[in-house]
Amino acid sequence: MNIKVLYFARIKESVNYSTEDLVLPTGVTTVTALKNHLAERGGTWATLFDGQQMVRAAINHELVENMAPISEGDEVAFFPPVTGG
């Protein structure tokens, strides 16, 4: 499954880039699974996505929970809790 991943704010600075195209292995079909998949990269990725830090996700521009399913072609974004206003 092909998806696009975006990173914002503190997370973008940690991973050093803002977007990447990913081909997901079979079985990685939820936000949680994607976080675990990214954590397997180790280092900064492990620190960010091991579940200790609060990382919010959006799929196709909608805030979603960790159980949300990911589909072919989705735009998945990861970011810290928002601080606007």
Partner: protein, 151 residues
């Protein structure tokens, strides 16, 4: 029912006047203006830079607007949020609501601010004399939003 995200400052007077004069049925205009404070968590703030997720931001603000409209009998609403680099006492955000009677406008305006604070994809980075830092989300904002969930 409009939302705008922009680099430029906004003219509160012109915005409120346009909203108010749109209809002679309007009796109440409630507005919130946020300005950049010069102190946060004990340090002096020199500049504040707002990053956002453009494709999502407009959508999130429109959802907040629609939710307010479905909950209260309001006439119109406006959200303007700035992005880019601001300095202390710059205006950051305007939320304004018009209605026939004041109760609805007060509730809708506060609701919209509470949801904006927790749902709209903006992130603040401060430059202080101690260096740059991302602003942490506040538990009190989550709590302010949660009040509305049970209504």
């Amino acid at each position: 029912m409009s939302v705008r995200v922009q680099l430029e400052d906004f003219d509160v007077a012109a915005e409120l006047r346009a909203l108010r004069l749109a209809s002679a049925e309007i009796g109440a205009v409630v507005s919130f203006v946020g300005q950049v404070r010069d102190i946060n968590d004990g340090d002096d703030v020199q500049t504040l830079t707002l990053e956002h997720y453009p494709e999502m931001t407009t959508r999130a603000l429109e959802k907040i607007t629609q939710e307010a409209q479905s909950r209260w009998d309001i006439h119109d609403s406006l959200i303007i949020h700035r992005v880019g680099t601001l300095k202390p006492q710059d205006q950051i955000v305007l939320v304004a609501v018009t209605s026939q009677h004041r109760g609805e406008a007060f509730k809708a305006c506060e609701f919209m601010m509470d949801y904006l604070k927790t749902q709209a994809p903006f992130w603040k980075k401060e430059a202080t004399s101690q260096g740059e830092r991302w602003v942490d989300a506040k538990l009190s904002d989550d709590e302010a939003q949660a009040r509305w969930e049970s209504e």
